[in-house]
Amino acid sequence: MADKTLRILVAKPGLDGHDRGARILARAFRDAGFEVVYTGCHQTPEQIVNAALQEDVDCVGLSCLSGAHKVLFPRVVELLKEQGADDIVVVGGGIIPKQDMSYLRERGIQEIFTPGTPLEEIISWVRTHVTPRDEL
């Protein structure tokens, strides 16, 4: 069972189109052997949560570079909880100022990856902290 492939949703909440990071990460996850779903730009938190449930993912990676992360990231966590899917690990990345980190962590975003984080570091974090949901 340990070999079960992790499924990750890479998603961009909000209206910004800065998807370079999200797309690179999607590829890096795929190259690392994960199953990757990327839903493209301009997703509402509701759309992201629907996709996460439909695709039965183990982890949701949110990317936001517009400054709206303080509103949008916690909303995704809340909605997952409402759907009884709060075992899905939510992580975030993008332009997240240091002073917002604890705000996001307190609201259930388990890790925040800021600019310059090596892909390998993100991948190994996921390997360590995310387990396939049905093993729980």
């Binding site: 189109g17 998807d19 370079r20 990327y38 493209g40 730009c41 509402t44 332009i95 600019p115």
Partner: protein
């Protein structure tokens, strides 16, 4: 032939001798790297000599400023006659905040305005839309109605200052608001000048600010081109943009090729759909490039761009007017070259990138502020960025002579190579059936994704250096002051919008929107009814919702 046969023969002999010498040295000590490449992975040789430009024809390829093929610029006097426009992209929070920033910049010597809108405005949503949650005023100014726009341009003389607006899907609406404000200031439309970005192809390819499917998106653009040609002759109705293509991770050559091929798609559409001759509108097509960190590659890209466009306009589209052959462009230093780490280093990067753009002959320039990785720039950061341009222009002496790097073996060779490789891409896209067809197949999108991924891998392996990120890293995170747009901006803007919705004549709004709808359905030019609608205080989203209703919406295919 640029050099006499004897010179080339002599050069060849000398080079062979020199290379023998170098080979011995390299075998013994090696060089820093096996292969040297630009930031775009374009291979650069150890040395360039007359042999590299043996095929160059002075008149055909370099020539004189203001003469075909305009490698050396459009203006006969270069920067001696007139410097480039200092045009800092700015917008923040409310219209009032942004208006204050604009007046500050004009006082500090800025010579043109450039508007950054917030994401809801960029996407055609009002502040009260559920889609706008959390975004109001964050990355630019929030504009919902004409009343916001009036505050934005308050005490800005629209007949003297030119204004650029980075707006794409709702470009018709923002331009309509600008036109309405000019009218209220008593300035006739043929006296206002400026630019709307209005380039949807690069949105599908790179920046991802989209609303309608490609075909109707292009239709609205051609409407603005036609309206401008008839009534607003000093307005640049499209700014065909490579900037965002590059920011998405393309190479310099991809930026060059995709941008020019986008430009060609617009020319073709206006010719076919509107029946206009290129000379009736091409002089008002403008371009927008990125100036990345690789100094020579950028300036060569700009020289090549002018040359390709001149040929395309004269030969492919049979334009006769010299101004139709001109490629006029704005440049912005590369946001993606800035680092969140050690942010003060960004001042240096920006200065070098700006210098390259000036060497490439840009007509207008935005220099990024050191803190733009983190936030909208603070007053102090934006002042340093503006001063960077002023120092280049007014202290360094680089603007004393035109196209000073022309004739350099390396610069001419690299300019030629970039032109050749751009043509390969252009022809490939031609063979796919044009840019729209290529975009539908995901071709430019995937080319860029490949390049971006490759760059990232090079960064991770240390093959590519970013100072402060993967080399010369400091333990302590150095920080700069960060401008915060607080949540109150959203509340203020919502109050304002509600008040306008209450007080306006809702029947007049409905009538005006019906007229926009009718124009869309009949295929008429939307600009006249759009101007009437903004005057009736229809909101941006109300007009865009009419477009969405008639034309449908585009969804990101999410390619990676």
């Amino acid at each position: 032939m640029y050099f006499a046969k004897e010179v080339l023969e002599k050069c060849s002999d000398l080079r062979t001798q020199w290379e023998d010498e170098v080979r011995r040295l390299v075998n013994k000590k090696g060089e820093r790297k096996e292969v040297f490449t630009t930031v775009s992975n374009h291979e650069i040789k150890r040395l360039y000599t007359p042999e590299d430009i043996a095929d160059l024809d002075f008149e055909r390829d370099i020539g004189f400023p203001a003469q075909f093929p305009f490698t050396r610029g459009n203006q006969a006097t270069g920067y001696r006659g007139r410097l480039w426009t200092y045009r800092m992209f700015s917008g923040m929070g409310t219209a009032k905040d942004t208006n204050e920033r604009w007046h500050m910049l004009l006082r500090e010597g800025q010579t043109g305005l450039s508007t950054a809108f917030d994401f809801p405005t960029l996407m055609g949503y009002d502040t009260d839309s559920p889609k706008a949650l959390g975004e109001c005023g964050k990355c630019g100014v929030a504009i919902d109605t004409l009343e916001d726009f009036q505050v934005l341009v308050d005490k800005i003389p629209l007949d003297e200052v030119t204004t650029s607006m980075t707006i794409n899907p709702p470009a018709t609406v923002m331009w309509a608001m600008y036109c309405a404000c000019a009218e209220q200031q008593g300035v006739p439309l043929d006296k206002i000048g400026g630019t709307i970005q209005n380039d949807m192809l690069k949105e599908f390819i790179a920046q991802k600010t989209f609303m309608l499917p490609p075909e109707p998106s292009i239709k609205l653009i051609s409407d603005t081109v036609e309206f401008g040609a008839k009534y607003v002759p000093r307005w640049n109705t499209i700014s065909i943009s490579g900037y965002h293509i590059r920011e998405a991770g393309s190479t310099a050559i991809q930026e060059l090729a995709f941008t020019l091929r986008d430009g060609m798609a617009y020319v073709e559409d206006v010719m076919e759909r509107k029946g206009l001759h290129p000379d009736e509108f091409a002089p008002r097509l403008s371009f927008f490039f990125n100036s990345h960190i690789d100094f020579f590659e950028e300036l060569c890209k700009m020289r090549a761009a002018r040359r390709i466009w001149a040929k395309v306009m004269r030969e492919r589209y049979k334009a006769k007017n010299e101004r139709s052959w001109w490629m006029r462009f704005h440049t912005q230093t590369a946001g993606c070259s800035l680092t969140a780490q050690q942010p003060y280093n960004n001042v240096v990067r920006t200065a070098l990138e700006a210098l390259s753009a000036v060497m490439g002959g840009t007509q207008s320039l935005h220099t990024n502020s050191l803190d733009e990785v983190w936030c909208l720039p603070t007053d102090h950061a934006v002042q340093i960025a503006l001063r960077t341009q002023q120092i280049i222009a007014e202290e360094t002496g680089v603007a004393n002579t035109i196209d000073p790097l022309a004739g350099s073996y390396f610069v001419e060779k690299l300019t030629n190579e970039m032109e050749e490789q751009a043509w390969e891409y252009i022809e490939k896209i031609d063979s796919m059936g044009g840019m729209l067809a290529a975009i539908e197949q995901g071709y430019p999108q995937m080319e860029i994704a490949d390049a971006a991924y490759k760059f990232q891998q090079q960064l991770e392996s240390g093959e590519r250096v970013m100072v402060g990120v993967n080399k010369y890293v400091t333990e302590e995170m150095e920080e700069c002051p960060v401008l915060d747009i607080d949540e109150e901006v959203e509340q203020d803007q919502l109050r304002r919008l509600n008040e306008i919705k209450r007080k306006r004549d809702s029947k007049a709004v409905k009538r005006a929107l019906d007229n926009v709808r009718a124009a869309c359905k009949k295929g008429d030019n939307v600009m006249p009814p759009c101007i009437e609608a903004v005057k009736a205080l229809a909101t941006e989203q109300e007009i865009c919702d009419v477009y969405r209703e008639v034309y449908g919406q585009y969804q990101d295919p999410g390619l990676f």
